[in-house]
């Protein structure tokens, strides 16, 4: 049996689905009708096609009758397409030579009272599927090799967890950390809520573990410069900043720092303490090697000091080398995990609280370092203005968080860490009076509410109200907090000796640059965007790249650790295989048709700029090329190419135009032709059926992967073939956000439809006849309402007005389609 030899022998199977379909449609007649369609060799109906006997029937026919295309008219392809693809491939047929007609969700369930109009629709849907089947070609899944190594970017607790899990499974892992030591924010914390474990005591062993693993390559003080490639095959370039200290020789004796004459504010101590120009960030740092900060060192160029080298040489280690230069490291990995963490909002920007103006206003992280016994004050709480121990401390919550002037979102962990810091203060200083100004206390998750209660039992006062202002009494340097106490309903003021601000968490500096390097997305707040908020919370829109921890959004330690493990599991899913399979519904550029190849001066960049996945590239004066491993198969470039040089496998122009032709074969002026994206709108129409929402049966649906695939040619062809109304529907695109599963396909669909509408109006076709709507997978009701609404509109026009408009535009449409379509006979075959 030769699968490639033209349209060949098609088998059509109409499923009764018990009475789900057969209760409304005449399945026997439908099968009989199917048998009259060109190239259909056999057509049968059966009670349950998806059950074993139904599948056995298909397999038997493929073998005995030599079928080389199979169409099943049953439920939604979103339901059983995988089942039947597997079924035909078990019988030796390529799985992409299978097509489905959705006569349940899109017909029997939503038109139970439509009588023969439902049968007519089912016939059209079957004819459309058969027409597409005639043009199907066998496709092979794209196989890419997998480099069984991972890269983790960011060595905070979440990244460390991912590294250790992957290393345990047995994969080689590169860990790139920008700072001189791993540990991240957690290393700066004193204790952790709600158990009051010492933060570095539980994190330290994990950090050391990372450094001891033979299959973990730790690149600290380094940054990811460049990433090329695709899932399974990322080429990574990392720049290592020079330490100026040879880690193999440094024994961390500290003689160098003792003699260094330079002192600068210590970042690790959030500027509260000092460090030397040659230093180790904190005692538990990993790697423990000293590092020379070349921005503050006196002696590098020209050599003016060299005290540290003398001391080091004297100690015998001879580890310091002032001539060290940045080092470029290149390696290949199969997957990447991004765990870049967070920063805190600059509190001085929020002027009403006086941070940076009044010395006794401090940030939560400054307090955290002060409470820490290893911190700059040895664990003593002192007023920065006079070094005295305070008697009354006030905490202010939601500083910048939940505030449209700064950050609209809730930072999530501040309620708990403020309670934690308050509890620690109260524990160290039982007489200290503590007031926490809050808006809402958010203490969800295990053990947190109990911890809140413990704080109240300790006598910590909670005042509901967001302070409007902090001012200072210049004689005492005491602070006055002006607020409302909402539970008394009265404005109040409170004098405190220290005010601590809980600023909002913000994306780590440099996140933006990294997203461009990796081609992943951020959300409206600048945190990394997950592929799906519920079902793919660890994945990104780029296959093979995962996110975890606070880089994705503020979260506490247990949640960050859980995500680190989750990211490791998602990465291992790919790394554990030698080959990774990619669905072959990708785009490909015809070298002959691409204008870049035909006219070296053309310099056309359209497809390259449309691709949200950077899957298309082109050498100078060469045709564009799609990297199939990066292509996600939306088809936006295919629709956008002005030279029709790009094809999407399994959703070719030819296949879709043949569907349109069948769907508009009878009384097209009474029909609504709807192009629905697979992920949202087609699923929304499925839901309308599942929910039994009835709507007019004159709508005919075409499934595309993304609304971005809907070519101008399809829309023009539809009107040329006499369509009454045309709908393009995709994932929701509103001012609140964009749900497109391919990042921006619907944005291009919108531009295209809006500009074409003006062209059509110029030809005499009313603009309202081409609709663009966003329907999510949850909006079955909205889909039904939309079709009702469009049908009302269609009736207002009336068939004669529609025909008149279409006739007027026909010559122009024909001309435009002849110009742009490579195979005009596909379209003109209809006339």
């Amino acid at each position: 049996m030769d699968q490639d030899s033209g349209p060949g022998r098609i088998g059509v199977y109409v499923c009764h689905c018990g009475l789900n379909i057969a209760g409304t449609l005449d399945c026997e007649s439908l099968a009989k009708y199917a048998s009259t369609l060109p190239n259909v060799h056999v057509a049968r109906d059966n009670r349950y096609m998806c059950a074993d006997p139904g599948q056995a029937l298909i397999k038997k026919d493929i073998k005995e009758l030599g079928l080389n295309r199979v169409v099943v008219a049953a439920c939604s392809p979103r339901m059983h397409e995988p089942t039947f693809r597997k079924c035909v491939s078990e019988a030796g047929l390529n799985p992409y030579l299978f097509e489905m007609a959705n006569i349940r969700e899109h017909c029997s369930w939503c038109h139970p009272h439509a009588g023969d109009l439902a049968n007519e629709k089912a016939r059209d849907l079957v004819a459309s599927a058969v027409a597409k089947a005639r043009h199907l070609t066998p496709l092979e899944e794209i196989e890419v090799g997998v480099e069984q190594r991972a890269l983790v970017i960011g060595g905070g607790v979440s990244g460390i967890q991912a590294v250790l899990d992957l290393s345990d499974i047995g994969f080689e892992v590169y860990l790139v950390e920008r700072e001189p030591s791993i540990g991240g924010r957690m290393a700066q914390l004193d204790k952790t809520f709600p158990t009051l474990d010492c933060s570095i005591c539980i994190l330290g062993p994990l950090m050391v573990d990372v450094s001891r693993r033979s299959n973990v390559k730790l690149l600290a003080y380094s940054e990811v410069e460049r990433v090329d490639g695709y899932v399974g095959n990322f080429r990574v370039t990392v720049t290592r900043r020079p330490h100026y200290v040879d880690p193999s020789k440094c024994n961390a004796c500290g003689e160098c720092a003792k003699v260094c004459p330079v002192e600068v504010p210590n970042d690790f101590e959030v500027g509260l303490g000092w460090r030397k120009a040659i230093y180790t960030p904190f005692p538990q740092a990993v790697p423990s090697t000293y590092v020379l900060d070349d921005k503050s060192c006196l002696g590098l160029v020209p050599l003016a000091c060299s005290k540290c080298r003398e001391a080091c040489d004297k100690s015998g280690a001879q580890a310091i080398n002032y001539d060290a230069r940045p080092d470029i490291v290149e390696f290949k990995v199969g997957t990447i995990i991004v765990a870049t963490g967070y920063d805190l909002l600059d509190a001085s920007a929020i002027r009403e609280y006086g941070y940076g103006v009044y010395p006794n206003v401090m940030t939560c992280l400054e307090l955290e370092r002060m409470i820490n016994a290893a911190g700059p004050t040895g664990g003593k709480i002192i007023r920065p203005s006079d070094g005295k121990t305070p008697k009354r401390v006030a905490f202010i919550q939601c500083v910048g968080s939940r505030d449209e002037r700064w950050r609209g979102y809730c930072s999530g962990f501040c309620c708990m860490y403020t309670i934690k810091n308050a509890v620690l203060l109260k524990d160290h200083y039982p007489d200290l009076e503590i007031h926490i100004f809050y808006v809402d206390m958010r203490t969800t998750f295990k053990g947190y509410e109990e911890f809140y209660r413990r704080a109240r039992e300790m006598g910590i006062k909670f005042i509901r109200g967001k302070p409007a202002e902090v001012s200072e009494d210049p004689t005492t340097s005491n602070l006055v907090v002006f607020s409302e106490n909402q539970l008394t309903g009265k404005a109040m003021s409170l004098e405190a000796e220290i005010v601590v601000l809980s600023q909002s968490a913000v994306p780590r500096v440099g996140t933006d640059k990294l997203t461009r390097t990796l081609n992943i997305m951020t959300d409206g707040s600048g945190f990394l965007l997950e592929a799906h908020p519920k079902l793919k919370p660890i994945d990104t829109s780029t296959s093979g790249i995962f996110i975890c921890g606070c880089a994705q959004g503020p979260k506490d330690i247990p949640f960050s650790v859980a995500q680190g493990s989750a990211a490791a599991a998602r990465a291992a899913r790919i790394l554990s295989r030698d080959k990774w399979l990619i669905e072959p519904i990708v785009a490909s550029v015809s070298r002959d048709l691409c204008i870049r190849g035909r006219d070296p001066k053309a310099g056309c960049q359209i497809c390259i700029t449309r691709c949200a996945f950077k899957a298309i590239g082109a050498e100078k004066e060469q045709p564009a090329m799609v990297n199939p491993a990066k292509c996600q198969g939306c088809g936006t470039c295919v629709a956008e190419c002005p030279h029709n040089a790009i094809t999407q496998m399994h959703f070719t122009d030819e296949q879709i135009l043949s569907q349109i032709r069948e769907l508009l074969r009878n009384e097209p002026e009474k029909k609504i032709l709807a192009f629905l994206c697979n992920w949202c709108s087609y699923a929304g129409a499925d839901l309308a059926g599942t929910s039994r929402f009835e709507y007019p049966p004159n709508v005919r649906t075409v499934r595309v992967m993304c609304s971005g695939r809907v070519d101008r040619d399809f829309l023009m062809a539809a009107f040329m073939m006499g369509a009454g109304m045309v709908l393009v529907s995709g994932c929701r695109l509103t001012e609140l956000g964009n749900d497109c599963h391919y990042i921006s396909g619907n944005v291009w669909a919108k531009k295209r439809v809006e500009s074409l509408r003006r062209v059509l109006e110029g030809m005499g076709i009313s603009g309202e006849r081409l609709r663009l709507e966003w329907i999510s997978a949850a909006e079955g009701q909205k889909f039904a309402e939309l079709i009702r609404n469009m049908d009302d509109k269609l009736k207002t026009f009336g068939p004669s007005k529609i025909r008149e408009e279409n006739d007027r535009a026909k010559a122009n449409l024909e001309r435009m389609l002849r110009h742009t379509t490579p195979s005009p006979q596909v379209v003109s075959a209809r006339t």
Binding site: C398, R402, D403, R405, G465, K466, A468, S493
Partner: protein
């Protein structure tokens, strides 16, 4: 439409309703309000809450709305960018329409409408001015002023003042 209905219409208007929905009762408006710190009954946050809860009559009949000094601290500070002080101006306009306006304030308004001056100029003050070599008080063009007041629906405009007195509104 009466003042209550007008307030209801305002509160239910889509864009305003969405804006007000931002209010999560943090109390930053009240905490920074100079009036609230000396007059504890006065509480802008609770006025917003009353509008959210639809207690329109309660607000419009309260004399507290007249205490706002229009310092606009609340507007500056609101973390949800709600124009609290602007809303309070609207509440005062509607309260006036419903007849809830301090008598003295109304007298002042009337005087401005009729003479262009809120405070009568006494003969004694003219004498002092002369002694201090100050320029004579320039006369107010009442006609122009009235045109402005009419166009801006100033509550002291005679027609409106009358309607406030008998409790009907235009």
């Amino acid at each position: 439409m009466g003042a209550t209905e007008k307030l209801r219409a305002l509160a239910e208007e889509e864009s305003f309703r969405k804006k007000l929905a931002g209010c999560y009762q943090c109390g930053m408006c009240t905490g920074g309000c100079p009036v609230a710190h000396v007059k504890p009954d006065y509480n802008p946050r609770r006025m917003l809450e009353a509008i959210i809860l639809g207690q329109y009559d309660e607000i419009l009949s309260s004399d507290l709305v007249w205490l706002c000094t229009s310092c606009h601290s609340c507007l500056e500070r609101c973390p949800q960018r709600i124009e609290v002080s602007g809303l309070l101006v609207e509440l005062r306009n509607l309260a006036a329409e419903s007849g809830n306006v301090p008598k003295l304030l109304l007298e002042r308004a009337k005087r401005i409408a009729e003479t262009g001056q809120s405070t009568p100029i006494s003969k004694a003050s003219l004498v002092w001015r002369e002694k201090l070599n100050l320029a004579p008080v320039s006369p107010v063009n009442v006609e122009e002023l009235q045109a402005i007041l009419q166009a801006t629906k100033f509550p002291g405009w005679p027609e409106r003042t009358r309607s406030h007195a008998n409790g009907t509104t235009s």
